[in-house]
Symmetry: C2
Subunit: 486 residues, 2 copies
């Protein structure tokens, strides 16, 4: 306490002397009061004043010679605090300018009745106890040294994931090809930085996942939109898209969501998978396969990912955001052998490596089997939510809605054929007013291109319980009916 | 269990049919065996075969019409698995190429006697119990929805840091100006991406922190090395450096470590701070102030950071890697008000936001006072280590060593005036052979420029106990003496 008080007084003395120097009261070269005098003046011990002077000497405000009193340093004379140029003068890089030109993110609603925001999970579904047990277990492990880890991430987690990927997704890879990232978004950003230069074309699903598009366009990539239908990417359009953009270099990257196209929800057919890989083999392009909700399929067994078919030209992007929590920021890449070093070094440069504690906790969950048990449980739970949503839509909306993309994932697409897209903003506002959060598909289309004529909604259901789903759909039905009236 | 077995058989049936299709045994358009026949052949139920066929239909291998048998789809005909072009054909971006051209990182030694690697902390110093308590406390908080957070990070942590920065470092800022990053490295990378275009010059301490240099050069920045002396960056050299590089645009970014220059260890004097800020105000450049070990100073009170003097032109980079653990990957930026949006959007694009659990645990430690208690304890402990190291050096090495940079931080610089730099590699190898990990200062100098004539060692001590420090220095002394003998 005495220490603190003394420090506090010394700090005030330091501040006062600095003010006096800056105001010109103590010109450069002038001697400061003797410590005894200043101590008396402030009513403190000489030790306190000596500490203050030492600090001012260390900071370069004063200079001292043995046996002589401290004098004010030169080079400080009356210079006012630096004035900052107007903000406009802070030039952003081209990356920064492209970034700020991107459309703003869709704000999260606070919808009291039902928020259908895609990507949210229910807090009740998180395996709190299993996760706490795992965290406690790994946090008690004694390590002699805390030091930076492998940029690819924890060796234990990469080995555990290697096994999981083989068991659950049929992907065979070495743990050297796995890079743990801070959620799939970082994986996409690393792909963008390593594979695209400004002006490089990339193929992108239209409509597609906005933050992936942003990652590729922010580094200067030029989007070549490829249409999507109920079977995913229209691979037959690859050659016509290339022809239409003959002025550009050949695309070096294609982004796809084969197991559940985001947002339309199609599953990329085997024939299209093959054709896409043939295209990649011919063109030397890298396919970025975003398997963002590959754990969720309804009625059919998992389809082998592209990575399982062509390990040398696919970067597989996996995430824990749809099975554990988006707030954990845990994802992983499986990269082609020829790109191992590039991705590892890029991860090191970007942030050294992912946080170790979560990685080890996840490794623990994977090796104990708790993760797969949790996935089975949450898959069941989300299948129930999906069934409740589909039933509510069929019963309540009837012909007013056409449902698509229900074979997999954690969202469905709800087309409203009777509602022209010009009414979209009004519908969303009306919905928000009655407490429903709705998110349209239209902003996910390539900028400047065609959009569907009617309103389509991306309906995420993983954070909603059955009654909220039903109430939300009922309120939407009311709204559509009322609006239809004169 | 029954479910699993049936799934397993279905999977084998699926794989077998796919093989047959790929081998041409089932040409496109051909009908598959009736489910009854195949069920008999495999000795399984018809349900299992039906499930397998459904899956093959979903994957696009088969097509079906109601009432008719499934037929093999077209577009799969005998196409072999795609062949990957040679790895050379996978073109890396210019960023990727610059990245792989950087000098490789210094490998971590496994030195049995004493490893003086800078940046490591002792595992025994981590506040295991306080951290576990905080993690458990925050992991029990119920949240209705798990959703992406603010890209700048947890509001609770930013408010807690705002208070901490004012108490501990005299920095006044709004919590909107704080961006939580995955360790200071991510902060540096964000600065590089937002503030530098390829070809843009940046000012950099010489010698300086290698991974910061790499972050700036990987985005294409051109390093302008500014010499460093015992008072930190030689700000008087700014104008001559600018003149010498007149062909380039003016530098838009300067990187400095004012509270403890890495690696030479000087504390930037008040006069130089002022001159540097004047330069920034005149040139419109942004100063990146890396306060990597600002919590550790020995004998003198903390010096106000640049950010406290000129909030509008300084990005302050803080880290928890030197007080808690480098494996947590927790750091923060305090950005100028005019750059708030750019940094927030860059963080969102890069990885959405930092993992939430650690952020909330840290907020808990900060608000409960446990963090500052821990910092005081570890500061004391590291002061003891430093004293033990300095005593051992003085007693054992005597005139063979000149010590520098001892006023702050967690490392000292040990110059060996009698050992020419040509002997450096040999000395390091000999040291490693006897079990001491030594890390030279020479790779931290700007590529292609002058280096010191004698060997200098960056001696980190935060992971070593007193006896290891003493044994390590004794072994180094032995080695130097032996080597000096004929």
């Amino acid at each position: 306490m005495g220490q603190l008080t003394q420090d506090g007084v010394a700090r005030r003395i330091i501040a006062a002397i600095k003010d006096q120097i800056h105001s010109g009261a103590h010109p450069p070269g002038s001697r400061l009061p003797a410590t005894r005098a200043l101590a008396a003046e402030w009513g403190v011990s000489r030790t306190t004043v000596t500490a203050a002077y030492s600090q001012l000497i260390a900071e370069g405000y004063l200079t001292s010679r043995p046996g002589a009193r401290a004098v004010v340093a030169h080079g400080l004379d009356g210079a006012p605090a630096p004035v900052d140029p107007p903000p406009a003068a802070r030039r952003l890089s081209e990356f920064g300018q492209r970034l700020l030109a991107l459309p703003p993110p869709v704000p999260a609603a606070s919808a009291r009745l039902a928020d259908f925001r895609y990507g949210d999970l229910s807090g009740a579904d998180f395996p709190v106890l299993a996760w706490r047990r795992a965290v406690n277990r790994v946090s008690l492990r004694r390590v002699a040294r805390l030091r930076y880890d492998d940029p690819r991430g924890s060796a234990a987690l990469r080995v555990a994931l290697q096994g999981y990927l083989w068991r659950a997704r049929g992907i065979r890879c070495s743990s050297d090809q796995i890079v743990i990232v801070n959620g799939s978004q970082q994986g996409l950003d690393l792909c963008a930085r390593l594979l695209l230069d400004p002006g490089d074309p990339f193929l992108f699903e239209n409509p597609g996942y906005a933050l992936a598009r942003h990652a590729f366009t922010a580094v200067g990539g030029v989007e070549i939109p490829i249409p999507v239908d109920e079977d995913g990417l229209r691979v037959d359009a690859l050659s016509s898209a290339a022809a239409a953009t003959a002025a550009l270099a050949p695309a070096t990257l294609a982004y796809v969501t084969p197991s559940h196209q985001f947002p339309l929800g199609g599953v990329l057919s085997a024939g299209r998978r093959r054709a896409l890989l043939d295209w990649a083999a011919r063109s030397g392009a890298v396919i970025v396969e975003d398997d963002y909700d590959g754990e969720y399929r309804h009625g059919v067994a998992p389809i082998p990912p592209l990575r399982a078919l062509a390990p040398d030209c696919v970067v597989y992007v996996g995430t824990l955001s749809k099975t554990l929590s988006p707030t954990l920021r845990l994802g992983y890449l499986v990269v082609p052998p020829s790109l191992e070093r590039a991705f590892a070094e890029a991860k090191r440069l970007t942030d050294r490596h992912a946080p170790l504690l979560e990685q080890e906790a996840l490794a623990d969950l994977l090796t104990s089997g708790a993760y797969e048990r949790h996935v089975r449980a949450i898959r069941r739970k989300n299948a129930e939510r999906r069934a409740a949503l589909l039933a509510a839509v069929a019963e309540t909306l009837g012909d007013a809605a056409v449902v698509a993309g229900t074979d997999a994932g954690l969202h469905i697409l709800l087309w409203l054929p009777g509602v022209p897209v010009a009414r979209e903003a009004a519908i969303l506002a009306e919905a928000r007013a009655v407490g429903i959060g709705l998110y349209p598909v239209s902003p996910l289309y390539a900028p400047g291109g065609d959009r569907p004529a009617c309103v389509g909604l991306v309906m995420g259901y993983a954070a909603l319980e059955d009654d909220a789903l039903r109430r939300g759909i009922a309120a939407l039905a009311d709204l559509l009916t009322t609006r239809g009236d004169p």
